[in-house]
């Protein structure tokens, strides 16, 4: 009888661990923007004194000097408008996209990926041009948008 009880406890201990209770997979990806030199388009170039914020929102970046930024897209809409300012002024970028929800796991639930990314509208005060490097935002492994300035 004793050995049955021990076997039972061991089996319960093995099956008691709930590994899938903690979400460790990647969730909804962010938009990655890299800044390049307009005069030398293969060369990264920092934006100095940069502020980044979405329409009617607080700043995500404040007074930083970076050559790339990671920003979220609005998950409840098919468009997000961002403002990026530098020493040289302020520019507005309106991004359009479609969304797709993909099942990840029990603990992570669904993540949203963004497809057909387009720059619907943008101003050119300090920005020279914008190009889309990857129109599908399904992970954060590389830049989706290149900004030349």
């Amino acid at each position: 009888m004793k050995k049955y009880v021990i076997a039972l406890i061991v089996l319960l201990a093995i099956f008691g661990c709930e590994k899938d209770d903690i979400c460790i997979e990647a969730n909804t990806p962010n938009l990655i923007i890299r800044f390049y030199d307009a005069a030398n388009p293969t060369q990264l170039k920092q934006v100095t004194n940069m502020y980044v914020w979405a329409l009617n929102k607080d700043s995500i970046y404040q007074n930083v000097a970076l050559d790339s930024i990671v920003i979220p897209l609005d998950i409840n809409a098919n468009t997000t408008t961002y403002f990026i300012s530098s020493d040289l002024g302020e520019d507005e970028i309106e991004l359009n996209y479609t969304k797709k929800d993909i099942f990840v796991s029990r603990s992570c639930g669904y993540k949203t990926i963004f497809e057909n990314l387009q720059v619907a509208n943008n101003t050119v005060n300090w920005i020279n041009s914008i190009s889309i490097n990857n129109s599908t935002i399904e992970d954060e492994s590389k830049a989706h948008l290149h900004i030349y300035h």
Binding site: F15, T28, I60, P72, D101, F103, R106, G109, Y110
Partner: protein
């Protein structure tokens, strides 16, 4: 000295013979064979405690040979599971068939069991994705919860189970039992862009497609014959 040892040897020989004769003398108690039918008590208790759960299970076993029983369970589950980022309802029925082996040596006249068993399980069910909230890190844009209420129908699963349990005859022909089962999915038809996270009869699907079950049963033996 020598004579004394021989004397002990001879008497002990006769005593042992005598014991053997007694053993041969005991009358053979005939053991009951029959159909045992029961219900899983844990299901109605869980349903009372948790309004998101309802279900029932009936069980039956039949002693075919000495310590071997063929056994089957038939049941229905309706369960709503609430996770951090999603909520879904599973509805469906299942059947399990297999064999139990009673490893317990009863005293004469007793009919208790410590058993191990194997089952093949088959479930037919649907999953309804009631709501989910896309998983976003950070709080810059807070995602809204969507309620698609998508129903995935005609889903199936097959699995294997290993069972360990006890059955005790508490009143004449009435048995109380408890068992633990470990399960592993053989194959399953998954819903599109979702997963069978709960399967009727299998319960929660853990990582690596494993599962665990606990049963408390009340059953009645319909004695058919003795041998």
């Amino acid at each position: 000295m020598n004579r004394k040892l021989i004397y002990i040897f001879i008497t002990s020989f006769f005593i042992s013979l005598n014991i053997q004769a007694q053993e041969n003398d005991t009358l053979k108690v005939k053991e009951k064979y029959g159909l045992r039918l029961g219900i899983d008590l844990s299901k109605p208790i869980n349903a009372l405690l948790d309004k998101n759960i309802s279900g029932f299970e009936i069980q039956g076993d039949f002693r075919v040979y000495k310590n071997y029983y063929i056994a089957a369970e038939l049941g229905y589950d309706d369960k709503t599971t609430d996770e951090d980022y999603l909520n879904f309802t599973t509805q469906g029925s299942y059947i399990k068939v297999g064999v139990n082996y009673n490893a317990y040596k009863n005293w004469k006249g007793m009919n208790n069991e410590v058993f191990v068993g194997v089952r093949y399980g088959l479930g037919f069910f649907s999953q309804t994705l009631n709501s989910y909230t896309p998983n976003v890190s950070g709080t810059y844009f807070i995602p809204a919860t969507t309620e698609p209420n998508t129903k995935f129908e005609n889903l199936t699963a097959q699995w294997a189970e290993f069972i360990f349990g006890i059955k005790v005859e508490t009143l004449k022909n009435f048995y109380l039992g408890a068992s633990v089962s470990l399960k592993s999915i053989i194959n399953t038809k998954e819903p599109e862009n979702f997963k069978n996270l709960y399967i009727p009869g299998f319960n929660r699907v853990y990582l690596n497609n494993t599962g665990v079950g606990f049963n408390y049963t009340l059953s009645y033996l319909i004695p058919l014959f003795k041998k």
